[in-house]
Protein backbone atom coordinates (compact mmCIF):
# COMPACT_ATOMS: atom_id res chain seq x y z
CA UNK A 1 0.00 0.00 0.00
CA UNK A 2 1.80 3.18 -1.12
CA UNK A 3 1.79 6.33 0.99
CA UNK A 4 0.11 9.16 -0.90
CA UNK A 5 0.36 11.85 1.73
CA UNK A 6 1.75 12.67 5.11
CA UNK A 7 -1.69 12.32 6.65
CA UNK A 8 -2.56 8.97 5.03
CA UNK A 9 -2.27 6.03 7.43
CA UNK A 10 -4.24 3.35 5.57
CA UNK A 11 -6.33 2.68 2.46
CA UNK A 12 -9.10 0.29 1.49
CA UNK A 13 -8.45 -1.83 -1.59
CA UNK A 14 -11.49 -1.29 -3.83
CA UNK A 15 -10.62 -3.20 -6.97
CA UNK A 16 -7.82 -5.17 -8.63
CA UNK A 17 -7.28 -4.25 -12.29
CA UNK A 18 -4.98 -7.22 -12.83
CA UNK A 19 -5.10 -10.92 -11.97
CA UNK A 20 -2.43 -13.56 -11.27
CA UNK A 21 -0.47 -14.36 -14.43
CA UNK A 22 -0.95 -10.87 -15.97
CA UNK A 23 2.15 -9.14 -17.29
CA UNK A 24 2.61 -5.65 -15.77
CA UNK A 25 4.85 -2.74 -16.79
CA UNK A 26 6.40 0.07 -14.70
CA UNK A 27 3.89 2.90 -14.27
CA UNK A 28 0.87 0.72 -15.10
CA UNK A 29 -2.26 1.29 -12.95
CA UNK A 30 -2.96 -2.07 -11.24
CA UNK A 31 -5.50 -1.29 -8.53
CA UNK A 32 -7.88 1.30 -7.10
CA UNK A 33 -7.71 2.32 -3.42
CA UNK A 34 -10.28 4.29 -1.42
CA UNK A 35 -8.84 7.05 0.80
CA UNK A 36 -10.38 9.93 2.76
CA UNK A 37 -9.92 12.00 -0.41
CA UNK A 38 -11.68 9.58 -2.75
CA UNK A 39 -10.67 6.70 -4.99
CA UNK A 40 -7.06 6.83 -6.23
CA UNK A 41 -5.42 4.68 -8.91
CA UNK A 42 -2.33 2.77 -7.72
CA UNK A 43 0.65 2.28 -10.08
CA UNK A 44 3.15 -0.57 -10.06
CA UNK A 45 6.84 0.47 -10.23
CA UNK A 46 8.38 -2.79 -11.45
CA UNK A 47 7.93 -4.86 -14.57
CA UNK A 48 6.95 -8.53 -14.01
CA UNK A 49 4.13 -11.04 -13.76
CA UNK A 50 1.45 -10.96 -11.07
CA UNK A 51 2.09 -14.01 -8.85
CA UNK A 52 -0.50 -13.71 -6.07
CA UNK A 53 -3.02 -11.05 -4.90
CA UNK A 54 -2.48 -11.03 -1.12
CA UNK A 55 -5.19 -8.52 -0.08
CA UNK A 56 -8.86 -9.06 -0.94
CA UNK A 57 -10.94 -6.09 -2.28
CA UNK A 58 -12.86 -4.39 0.52
CA UNK A 59 -10.16 -4.81 3.19
CA UNK A 60 -8.52 -1.79 4.79
CA UNK A 61 -4.75 -2.10 5.19
CA UNK A 62 -2.14 0.25 6.66
CA UNK A 63 0.41 2.04 4.48
CA UNK A 64 3.37 -0.23 3.65
CA UNK A 65 1.35 -3.50 3.78
CA UNK A 66 2.08 -6.03 1.00
CA UNK A 67 -0.86 -6.01 -1.47
CA UNK A 68 0.37 -8.48 -4.07
CA UNK A 69 3.37 -10.65 -4.95
CA UNK A 70 5.17 -10.25 -8.30
CA UNK A 71 7.44 -12.59 -10.22
CA UNK A 72 10.33 -10.78 -11.86
CA UNK A 73 10.38 -11.20 -15.66
CA UNK A 74 11.52 -14.75 -16.46
CA UNK A 75 11.32 -15.94 -12.85
CA UNK A 76 10.00 -19.45 -12.39
CA UNK A 77 6.32 -19.81 -11.59
CA UNK A 78 7.12 -21.53 -8.27
CA UNK A 79 5.97 -19.09 -5.61
CA UNK A 80 9.45 -17.98 -4.63
CA UNK A 81 9.02 -15.39 -1.85
CA UNK A 82 8.93 -12.28 -4.00
CA UNK A 83 10.78 -9.26 -2.70
CA UNK A 84 8.48 -7.72 -0.07
CA UNK A 85 6.95 -4.46 -1.15
CA UNK A 86 9.41 -1.71 -0.25
CA UNK A 87 8.79 -1.03 3.42
CA UNK A 88 8.00 2.53 4.28
CA UNK A 89 11.41 4.11 4.86
CA UNK A 90 11.88 4.62 8.58
CA UNK A 91 11.23 8.30 9.11
CA UNK A 92 14.43 9.69 10.63
CA UNK A 93 13.84 9.43 14.38
CA UNK A 94 13.99 12.95 15.64
CA UNK A 95 17.09 12.97 17.75
CA UNK A 96 16.60 14.12 21.30
CA UNK A 97 15.64 17.76 21.23
CA UNK A 98 18.89 19.65 21.15
CA UNK A 99 19.67 21.35 24.41
CA UNK A 100 18.62 24.89 23.57
CA UNK A 101 21.80 26.89 23.23
CA UNK A 102 22.08 28.16 26.80
CA UNK A 103 21.49 31.88 26.58
CA UNK A 104 24.18 33.47 28.66
CA UNK A 105 22.13 33.63 31.84
CA UNK A 106 23.19 36.87 33.39
CA UNK A 107 24.75 36.49 36.81
CA UNK A 108 22.73 39.22 38.51
CA UNK A 109 24.97 41.18 40.79
CA UNK A 110 23.56 39.73 44.00
CA UNK A 111 24.31 36.08 43.08
CA UNK A 112 25.05 35.45 46.69
CA UNK A 113 21.41 36.03 47.67
CA UNK A 114 19.93 32.88 49.23
CA UNK A 115 17.41 31.14 47.02
CA UNK A 116 14.09 31.13 48.88
CA UNK A 117 10.79 30.23 47.22
CA UNK A 118 8.00 32.81 47.58
CA UNK A 119 5.89 30.24 49.46
CA UNK A 120 8.75 29.81 51.93
CA UNK A 121 9.20 33.57 52.29
CA UNK A 122 5.53 34.03 53.00
CA UNK A 123 5.35 31.27 55.67
CA UNK A 124 8.55 32.52 57.33
CA UNK A 125 7.02 35.97 57.50
CA UNK A 126 3.78 34.55 59.01
CA UNK A 127 5.69 32.60 61.66
CA UNK A 128 8.11 35.45 62.38
CA UNK A 129 10.99 33.13 61.56
CA UNK A 130 14.37 34.48 60.47
CA UNK A 131 15.21 32.87 57.11
CA UNK A 132 18.90 32.95 57.96
CA UNK A 133 18.27 30.12 60.44
CA UNK A 134 16.70 27.83 57.85
CA UNK A 135 18.81 25.22 56.06
CA UNK A 136 17.71 24.02 52.60
CA UNK A 137 17.17 20.24 52.37
CA UNK A 138 19.90 19.71 49.81
CA UNK A 139 23.22 21.51 50.13
CA UNK A 140 23.02 24.86 48.28
CA UNK A 141 19.46 24.00 47.28
CA UNK A 142 16.36 26.17 47.42
CA UNK A 143 14.75 26.81 50.77
CA UNK A 144 11.24 25.42 50.35
CA UNK A 145 8.07 25.73 52.42
CA UNK A 146 8.77 22.28 53.90
CA UNK A 147 12.19 23.47 55.10
CA UNK A 148 10.56 26.41 56.89
CA UNK A 149 7.97 24.08 58.43
CA UNK A 150 10.70 21.81 59.72
CA UNK A 151 12.68 24.70 61.15
CA UNK A 152 9.55 26.05 62.83
CA UNK A 153 8.71 22.65 64.32
CA UNK A 154 12.26 22.26 65.61
CA UNK A 155 12.41 25.69 67.20
CA UNK A 156 10.59 25.53 70.59
CA UNK A 157 7.91 27.98 69.66
CA UNK A 158 7.33 30.15 72.71
CA UNK A 159 3.95 29.26 74.25
CA UNK A 160 1.26 31.54 73.06
CA UNK A 161 2.99 32.04 69.71
CA UNK A 162 0.69 30.79 66.94
CA UNK A 163 1.23 26.99 66.56
CA UNK A 164 2.50 26.23 63.10
CA UNK A 165 -0.89 25.36 61.60
CA UNK A 166 0.59 24.18 58.35
CA UNK A 167 2.87 21.67 60.02
CA UNK A 168 0.12 20.26 62.23
CA UNK A 169 -2.35 19.63 59.46
CA UNK A 170 0.38 18.01 57.39
CA UNK A 171 0.82 15.39 60.11
CA UNK A 172 -2.93 15.04 60.63
CA UNK A 173 -3.37 14.35 56.94
CA UNK A 174 -0.72 11.64 57.03
CA UNK A 175 -2.24 10.00 60.10
CA UNK A 176 -5.60 9.98 58.27
CA UNK A 177 -4.02 8.28 55.25
CA UNK A 178 -2.39 5.56 57.41
CA UNK A 179 -5.68 4.98 59.26
CA UNK A 180 -7.58 4.55 56.00
CA UNK A 181 -5.02 2.06 54.61
CA UNK A 182 -4.98 -0.03 57.78
CA UNK A 183 -8.78 -0.08 58.00
CA UNK A 184 -9.05 -1.16 54.37
CA UNK A 185 -6.41 -3.83 54.92
CA UNK A 186 -8.23 -5.30 57.90
CA UNK A 187 -11.56 -5.12 56.10
CA UNK A 188 -10.57 -6.58 52.73
CA UNK A 189 -7.58 -8.87 53.41
CA UNK A 190 -8.19 -12.20 55.21
CA UNK A 191 -4.90 -12.28 57.15
CA UNK A 192 -3.29 -15.47 58.44
CA UNK A 193 -0.35 -15.22 60.86
CA UNK A 194 2.72 -17.48 61.41
CA UNK A 195 5.67 -17.05 63.76
CA UNK A 196 8.95 -18.91 64.26
CA UNK A 197 12.11 -18.53 66.32
CA UNK A 198 15.35 -18.44 64.33
CA UNK A 199 18.90 -18.93 65.67
CA UNK A 200 20.75 -15.87 64.35
CA UNK A 201 24.02 -16.42 66.25
CA UNK A 202 25.88 -17.28 63.06
CA UNK A 203 24.78 -14.12 61.21
CA UNK A 204 25.41 -11.80 64.21
CA UNK A 205 28.90 -13.24 64.78
CA UNK A 206 29.60 -12.93 61.05
CA UNK A 207 28.45 -9.27 61.11
CA UNK A 208 30.59 -8.36 64.13
CA UNK A 209 33.69 -9.80 62.40
CA UNK A 210 32.74 -8.08 59.14
CA UNK A 211 32.31 -4.65 60.81
CA UNK A 212 35.68 -5.01 62.56
CA UNK A 213 37.29 -5.20 59.13
CA UNK A 214 35.45 -2.04 58.00
CA UNK A 215 35.93 1.68 58.80
CA UNK A 216 33.26 3.33 60.95
CA UNK A 217 31.51 4.90 57.98
CA UNK A 218 31.31 1.57 56.09
CA UNK A 219 29.71 -0.41 58.96
CA UNK A 220 26.56 -2.48 58.20
CA UNK A 221 23.52 -2.31 60.44
CA UNK A 222 22.27 -5.72 61.73
CA UNK A 223 19.01 -5.34 59.75
CA UNK A 224 20.88 -5.31 56.42
CA UNK A 225 21.76 -9.06 56.17
CA UNK A 226 18.26 -9.81 57.48
CA UNK A 227 16.77 -7.73 54.63
CA UNK A 228 18.78 -9.74 52.09
CA UNK A 229 17.62 -13.06 53.57
CA UNK A 230 13.97 -11.87 53.67
CA UNK A 231 14.21 -10.97 49.98
CA UNK A 232 16.06 -14.13 48.85
CA UNK A 233 13.63 -16.47 50.68
CA UNK A 234 10.78 -15.13 48.51
CA UNK A 235 12.22 -16.90 45.50
CA UNK A 236 10.92 -20.18 46.91
CA UNK A 237 7.41 -18.82 47.63
CA UNK A 238 6.35 -16.35 44.87
CA UNK A 239 2.80 -16.26 46.28
CA UNK A 240 3.93 -13.77 48.90
CA UNK A 241 5.59 -11.24 46.58
CA UNK A 242 3.29 -9.11 44.41
CA UNK A 243 0.06 -7.12 44.47
CA UNK A 244 -3.66 -7.81 44.56
CA UNK A 245 -5.42 -5.73 41.85
CA UNK A 246 -8.82 -5.89 40.10
CA UNK A 247 -9.74 -9.03 41.99
CA UNK A 248 -6.65 -11.04 41.08
CA UNK A 249 -3.12 -11.59 42.42
CA UNK A 250 -0.30 -10.36 40.21
CA UNK A 251 3.01 -11.93 41.25
CA UNK A 252 6.11 -9.73 40.83
CA UNK A 253 9.32 -11.02 39.32
CA UNK A 254 11.27 -8.33 41.16
CA UNK A 255 11.49 -8.02 44.94
CA UNK A 256 10.90 -4.37 45.96
CA UNK A 257 11.22 -4.52 49.76
CA UNK A 258 9.18 -1.87 51.59
CA UNK A 259 11.02 -0.82 54.78
CA UNK A 260 8.74 0.41 57.57
CA UNK A 261 10.45 3.55 58.94
CA UNK A 262 9.11 5.71 61.78
CA UNK A 263 9.10 9.46 61.14
CA UNK A 264 10.35 12.00 63.69
CA UNK A 265 7.46 13.11 65.81
CA UNK A 266 5.19 10.25 64.79
CA UNK A 267 3.89 8.64 61.63
CA UNK A 268 5.20 5.73 59.59
CA UNK A 269 6.02 5.24 55.93
CA UNK A 270 7.37 2.15 54.08
CA UNK A 271 9.19 3.25 50.92
CA UNK A 272 10.53 0.45 48.70
CA UNK A 273 14.15 -0.54 48.19
CA UNK A 274 14.26 -1.91 44.67
CA UNK A 275 15.54 -5.41 43.78
CA UNK A 276 16.54 -6.12 47.38
CA UNK A 277 17.20 -9.77 46.44
CA UNK A 278 19.87 -8.85 43.88
CA UNK A 279 21.76 -6.08 45.66
CA UNK A 280 24.96 -6.46 47.66
CA UNK A 281 24.85 -5.77 51.39
CA UNK A 282 26.81 -2.54 50.83
CA UNK A 283 24.27 -1.29 48.27
CA UNK A 284 21.38 -2.26 50.53
CA UNK A 285 23.04 -0.33 53.38
CA UNK A 286 23.52 2.73 51.19
CA UNK A 287 19.91 2.59 49.93
CA UNK A 288 18.61 2.11 53.48
CA UNK A 289 20.68 5.07 54.77
CA UNK A 290 19.43 7.32 51.96
CA UNK A 291 15.76 6.49 52.38
CA UNK A 292 15.90 6.51 56.21
CA UNK A 293 17.59 9.91 56.41
CA UNK A 294 15.07 11.37 53.95
CA UNK A 295 12.09 9.90 55.85
CA UNK A 296 13.39 11.04 59.19
CA UNK A 297 14.40 14.41 57.71
CA UNK A 298 10.82 14.90 56.55
CA UNK A 299 11.89 15.24 52.97
CA UNK A 300 10.46 12.13 51.37
CA UNK A 301 7.87 13.24 48.83
CA UNK A 302 5.01 10.81 48.32
CA UNK A 303 5.87 10.66 44.62
CA UNK A 304 9.14 8.97 45.55
CA UNK A 305 7.30 6.29 47.45
CA UNK A 306 7.53 3.70 44.70
CA UNK A 307 5.34 0.70 45.37
CA UNK A 308 6.93 -2.19 47.31
CA UNK A 309 5.96 -5.81 46.46
CA UNK A 310 6.32 -6.84 50.14
CA UNK A 311 7.06 -4.99 53.40
CA UNK A 312 9.49 -5.69 56.25
CA UNK A 313 8.84 -4.23 59.71
CA UNK A 314 11.86 -4.45 62.01
CA UNK A 315 10.47 -3.47 65.44
CA UNK A 316 13.22 -5.39 67.26
CA UNK A 317 14.96 -2.05 67.93
CA UNK A 318 12.12 -0.92 70.12
CA UNK A 319 12.53 -4.10 72.21
CA UNK A 320 9.45 -5.88 70.93
CA UNK A 321 9.95 -9.65 70.73
CA UNK A 322 7.20 -10.53 68.31
CA UNK A 323 5.36 -8.19 65.93
CA UNK A 324 2.41 -9.39 63.85
CA UNK A 325 2.13 -6.80 61.06
CA UNK A 326 -0.92 -5.51 59.17
CA UNK A 327 -0.45 -5.94 55.41
CA UNK A 328 -0.11 -2.71 53.36
CA UNK A 329 -2.65 -2.92 50.48
CA UNK A 330 -2.26 -3.78 47.65
CA UNK A 331 0.60 -6.03 48.88
CA UNK A 332 -0.19 -9.58 49.99
CA UNK A 333 2.31 -10.17 52.82
CA UNK A 334 4.36 -8.49 55.59
CA UNK A 335 7.35 -9.94 57.42
CA UNK A 336 7.99 -8.91 61.05
CA UNK A 337 11.35 -9.24 62.84
CA UNK A 338 11.44 -9.00 66.63
CA UNK A 339 14.25 -8.26 69.13
CA UNK A 340 17.35 -10.49 69.19
CA UNK A 341 17.48 -12.07 72.67
CA UNK A 342 19.82 -14.61 74.31
CA UNK A 343 17.93 -17.83 75.18
CA UNK A 344 18.65 -21.42 76.18
CA UNK A 345 18.61 -23.39 72.95
CA UNK A 346 19.14 -27.15 72.32
CA UNK A 347 22.20 -27.74 70.15
CA UNK A 348 22.99 -31.39 69.28
CA UNK A 349 21.44 -32.71 72.44
CA UNK A 350 22.95 -30.25 74.89
CA UNK A 351 21.62 -26.81 75.86
CA UNK A 352 23.56 -23.72 74.83
CA UNK A 353 23.02 -19.98 75.05
CA UNK A 354 22.16 -18.76 71.53
CA UNK A 355 20.97 -15.43 70.08
CA UNK A 356 17.37 -15.95 68.96
CA UNK A 357 15.06 -13.78 66.84
CA UNK A 358 11.31 -14.28 66.38
CA UNK A 359 10.31 -13.88 62.74
CA UNK A 360 6.62 -13.57 61.80
CA UNK A 361 4.66 -13.59 58.55
CA UNK A 362 1.19 -12.06 57.97
CA UNK A 363 -0.14 -13.11 54.56
CA UNK A 364 -3.28 -12.81 52.43
CA UNK A 365 -5.27 -16.03 52.59
CA UNK A 366 -6.87 -15.24 49.20
CA UNK A 367 -3.45 -15.71 47.64
CA UNK A 368 -1.49 -18.17 49.77
CA UNK A 369 -2.08 -20.50 52.72
CA UNK A 370 -0.27 -21.55 55.87
CA UNK A 371 1.69 -24.24 54.06
CA UNK A 372 3.31 -21.59 51.79
CA UNK A 373 3.95 -19.32 54.79
CA UNK A 374 5.64 -22.13 56.62
CA UNK A 375 7.88 -22.93 53.67
CA UNK A 376 8.87 -19.26 53.54
CA UNK A 377 9.84 -18.94 57.21
CA UNK A 378 11.79 -22.24 57.00
CA UNK A 379 13.69 -20.93 53.98
CA UNK A 380 14.40 -17.66 55.86
CA UNK A 381 15.77 -19.63 58.79
CA UNK A 382 18.04 -21.74 56.55
CA UNK A 383 19.41 -18.69 54.70
CA UNK A 384 20.35 -17.03 58.00
CA UNK A 385 22.56 -20.01 58.91
CA UNK A 386 24.99 -19.20 56.00
CA UNK A 387 25.62 -15.46 56.32
CA UNK A 388 28.58 -15.62 53.91
CA UNK A 389 26.12 -16.50 51.09
CA UNK A 390 24.14 -13.33 51.79
CA UNK A 391 27.05 -11.08 50.79
Amino acid sequence: MPTLGADMEAGTLVEWLVKPGDEVKRGQVVAVVETQKGAIEIEIWENGTVDRLVVEPGTKVPVGEVLALLRAPGEAAAAAPAAAAPRVAPVPKAQAAPPMPRSATPSPAAAARAKVSPAARQLAAELGLDLEAVQPAEQGGVISRADVERAAAARKVAPGAPAAPAAADWRVQMRGAIAAAMARSKRDIPHYYLATDIDVTAVTDWLAAENLKRGVAQRLLPVVPLMKAVALALRETPGLNGVWADGAFRPSAAVHLGMAIAMRGGGLVAPAIHDADRKSLDTLMADLRDVTMRVRGGRLRSSEMSDPTITLTNLGEQGVECVLGVIYPPQVAIVGLGRITERAWPVQGTVAIRRILTATLSADHRVSDGHTGGLYLAALGRLLQEPEALR
Partner: protein, 86 residues
Protein backbone atom coordinates in the same frame (compact mmCIF):
# COMPACT_ATOMS: atom_id res chain seq x y z
CA UNK B 1 46.41 18.83 68.58
CA UNK B 2 46.23 18.82 72.37
CA UNK B 3 43.69 16.37 73.85
CA UNK B 4 40.16 17.95 73.99
CA UNK B 5 38.86 18.88 77.43
CA UNK B 6 35.81 17.15 78.94
CA UNK B 7 33.95 20.40 78.13
CA UNK B 8 34.90 20.09 74.42
CA UNK B 9 33.79 16.45 74.34
CA UNK B 10 30.43 17.22 76.05
CA UNK B 11 29.87 20.04 73.52
CA UNK B 12 30.75 17.66 70.60
CA UNK B 13 28.31 14.98 71.81
CA UNK B 14 25.42 17.44 72.26
CA UNK B 15 26.10 19.14 68.89
CA UNK B 16 26.04 15.72 67.21
CA UNK B 17 22.73 14.80 68.85
CA UNK B 18 21.16 18.12 67.73
CA UNK B 19 22.40 17.68 64.18
CA UNK B 20 20.89 14.19 63.91
CA UNK B 21 17.70 15.00 65.90
CA UNK B 22 17.06 18.74 65.35
CA UNK B 23 14.15 18.77 67.81
CA UNK B 24 16.60 18.03 70.69
CA UNK B 25 17.13 20.78 73.33
CA UNK B 26 20.69 20.23 74.66
CA UNK B 27 19.86 21.88 78.02
CA UNK B 28 17.29 19.21 78.83
CA UNK B 29 19.47 16.09 78.31
CA UNK B 30 19.76 14.29 81.69
CA UNK B 31 23.41 13.13 82.10
CA UNK B 32 22.70 9.69 83.47
CA UNK B 33 19.43 8.59 81.76
CA UNK B 34 19.80 6.50 78.57
CA UNK B 35 19.99 8.81 75.55
CA UNK B 36 17.65 6.60 73.50
CA UNK B 37 14.91 7.26 76.10
CA UNK B 38 15.30 11.04 75.77
CA UNK B 39 16.00 11.46 72.05
CA UNK B 40 14.25 9.80 69.08
CA UNK B 41 17.20 7.78 67.71
CA UNK B 42 16.74 4.64 65.62
CA UNK B 43 19.67 2.36 64.79
CA UNK B 44 20.53 4.41 61.66
CA UNK B 45 20.51 7.65 63.69
CA UNK B 46 22.74 6.08 66.38
CA UNK B 47 25.22 4.82 63.75
CA UNK B 48 25.32 8.35 62.28
CA UNK B 49 26.05 9.75 65.77
CA UNK B 50 28.96 7.32 66.09
CA UNK B 51 30.30 8.23 62.64
CA UNK B 52 30.08 11.99 63.38
CA UNK B 53 31.90 11.61 66.72
CA UNK B 54 34.54 9.49 64.97
CA UNK B 55 35.03 12.30 62.43
CA UNK B 56 35.02 15.23 64.90
CA UNK B 57 37.15 13.60 67.60
CA UNK B 58 39.30 11.52 65.24
CA UNK B 59 39.00 8.27 67.24
CA UNK B 60 37.66 4.83 66.33
CA UNK B 61 34.65 3.52 68.31
CA UNK B 62 34.30 -0.28 67.95
CA UNK B 63 30.80 -1.79 68.06
CA UNK B 64 31.68 -3.59 71.26
CA UNK B 65 31.98 -0.24 73.08
CA UNK B 66 28.50 1.04 71.97
CA UNK B 67 27.07 0.13 75.39
CA UNK B 68 29.43 2.63 77.09
CA UNK B 69 27.80 5.45 75.09
CA UNK B 70 24.29 4.74 76.36
CA UNK B 71 24.18 7.84 78.59
CA UNK B 72 25.63 11.35 78.12
CA UNK B 73 27.93 11.08 81.15
CA UNK B 74 29.04 7.58 80.19
CA UNK B 75 29.80 8.75 76.67
CA UNK B 76 31.85 11.75 77.86
CA UNK B 77 33.86 9.51 80.29
CA UNK B 78 34.49 6.91 77.56
CA UNK B 79 35.47 9.45 74.92
CA UNK B 80 37.69 11.44 77.35
CA UNK B 81 39.53 8.21 78.19
CA UNK B 82 39.90 7.37 74.49
CA UNK B 83 41.02 10.92 73.54
CA UNK B 84 43.20 11.37 76.61
CA UNK B 85 44.84 8.04 75.97
CA UNK B 86 44.73 8.70 72.22
Amino acid sequence: MSAPTRQDIRRAVLDTLCAIAPETDPAEIAPNRPLRDQVDLDSMDFLNVIIRLHETLGIDIPEADYAQLATLEGAVDYLARRCGAG
